[in-house]
Amino acid sequence: MFSLIENEVIKMISKKRLMFVFAILVVLITIFAYGQNQSLAKTKAQLSQRMGVTATDDWRKLADQQIITIKNRLDSPYMDEKSKSSSRVRMEQLQYNLDNNINPLEQSAAKFTTKFMEQAIFLFLPLLIIMLSSDMVSGESSNGTIKLLLVRNVPRWKILLSKYLTLMVLEVIVVFFSFVASAIISGFFFGFGGWFAPVATGFKVLAGQLDSTGVRNVPQWQYSLMVYSLAYFVAFVVGSISFMISVLVKSTAASIGIIMSTLVAGNFISFFLSDWKITRYMFMVNLRLTDYLSGSFQPIEGMNMVFSIYVLLGWAIASIIISFVYFTKQDILV
């Protein structure tokens, strides 16, 4: 079993596909980091022009003033508890910036790395995973090598399982690589620090409204870890689904086409069918898991982290079962 997986992994590496994925990541991260750097410089220039002073040495005053304001706000008896906890969190962040001399305008490698995955999780990362997964089985059918695999004295389910586990290994590698690459590349642009800055999280939805009572700060490294873990979960789910399609469909092109169009459609499906409750059970709608962390989601009653994870998990498990049942029962006629 172990040697089967090793065999599959080496096959994937020699196919150069993994190298393509890495190359795409490196190139895109470099471009994004450069772009961020440019727009940051522009914002600073605009700010210093508008305020008449350089924003770099002026931010302390502003932060001091904001802290005073928040303190006043917290003392006011007319504030409700909801807004108080977010004020408290905001004050902690400002205080941290002051204590550690961090200009809130500046980017950091940690911020960029987190932001990158938050933006990549619903389309870019799934597409990279599809590049790897969509021809794992159908590729063998297309070029006929599946015969050579199946004539070996190994049960079919073992062959498929080794392929599936290989996919899971590669998913970890891709997520890990995108973390390392974006931390290092953006580090050259923004400096390597920022991993201990506080980030607010812990939002909930109560009665269709964003509830910030439980908001608190976690260090950026922990936040980043959570984001990348959710990214891995998304990779696992999308990988499973596209793996199933690659089992069901003989041609690699068709396999890539099906899963890609589904994903892209998912990005606007909720826009057209927002009143139709069944859309929330589609996996594409639930891919933006990181939004639950950052509180930047549209609060919809009934949709929360646990719901989305259950839906995604349901899709993944169903896909795995279908893949195995179909692969062990089908007649291979190549």
Binding site: Q65, S76, P77, K84, V172, L293
Partner: protein
């Protein structure tokens, strides 16, 4: 051989990575589902509205001002942390011999809907009934979000926002009048804090907003609308705070000065 060592590297990274990611995944679920993970000690202090019954009621030698509304009312942006609550007494004390007491009930980010809810919750009934003057600033947050729209959408959205704002304000003033029939209402008009938003269309909208508000205040009687857009228009650098939105200390003082000049005789009349 190279492939063999590569396989081991990949396997190590994958297994370590998997464990780390599993921990992160668990944390992510905990953080989004846990019920109030950190019960804040301060959160458990019961929120008591300051008991106005302790203060001697009207007709005594106190002159009471209640401040209602959004962040401008509250004094946000003042680098000294003061705002109207501490400048108004300075300017009013020349006109009255009574001691001036200010109650600040302003809330950052309050919209007109929020003000109406606040008034209808009857938490404020007691302070309302006691006050001689009521300073109101509201509407800035209602109108702020439409500024970024294009002109066509802006026009439509503006109409919608303004209608709901005016309806809320009318109800709010009724509620104030009901709780406090004899007080005098001072309404702070909207100003434009943005230098770049200066096309005629935007100014027309701002003026329409202020004009309709003023009409409403005049209809209700016993109140005054204090314009601020003219005062701040060419003084943004001097009067607007670093956040680019609220007045700074000098700005609050300038507006307070204007208010005190407008209502001098009324204060004098009320304090006889």
């Amino acid at each position: 051989m190279l492939k063999k060592s590569m396989w081991y590297t990949i396997l190590t990274i994958a297994s370590v990575g998997f464990i780390v990611l599993a921990i992160g995944f668990y944390q992510a679920i905990m953080v989004t589902t846990a019920v109030n993970p950190q019960p804040n000690p301060t959160a458990e202090v019961p929120q008591t509205i300051p008991d106005s019954t302790q203060l001697p009621s009207k007709n005594s030698n106190l002159f009471k001002v209640l401040i209602l509304g959004d962040s401008v009312a509250k004094g946000t942006g003042d680098e000294k942390g003061k705002g109207f609550a501490s400048y108004l007494p300075d300017y009013f004390k020349n006109s009255t011999s009574k001691d001036i007491v200010v109650e600040n009930a302003g809330i950052d980010g309050l919209e007109s809907t929020g003000l109406l809810e606040q008034l209808q919750s009857q938490n404020l009934d007691k302070p309302l009934a006691d006050s001689d003057f009521i300073l109101v600033s509201i509407g800035g947050n209602d109108v702020r979000s439409i500024l970024s729209l294009n002109n066509l959408a802006k026009e439509d959205q503006f109409k919608v926002r303004q209608d709901s704002y005016l309806a809320n304000l009318e109800q709010s003033i009724k509620a104030i009048r009901k709780a406090s029939p004899n007080s005098f209402v001072i309404f702070i008009g909207l100003y434009n804090p943005y230098e770049k938003v200066n096309d005629v269309e935007d100014i027309r909208l701002l003026n329409a907003w202020n004009y309709d508000t003023q009409q409403l205040i005049e209809q209700a009687g016993q109140g005054i609308f204090i314009p601020t857009s003219d005062l701040l228009k060419f003084n943004l650098g001097r009067y607007i705070s670093k956040d680019g939105l609220h007045p700074n200390s000098a700005g609050y003082q300038a507006i307070s000065n204007r208010i005190s000049k407008s209502v001098e005789t009324i204060i004098a009349g009320a304090s006889i």
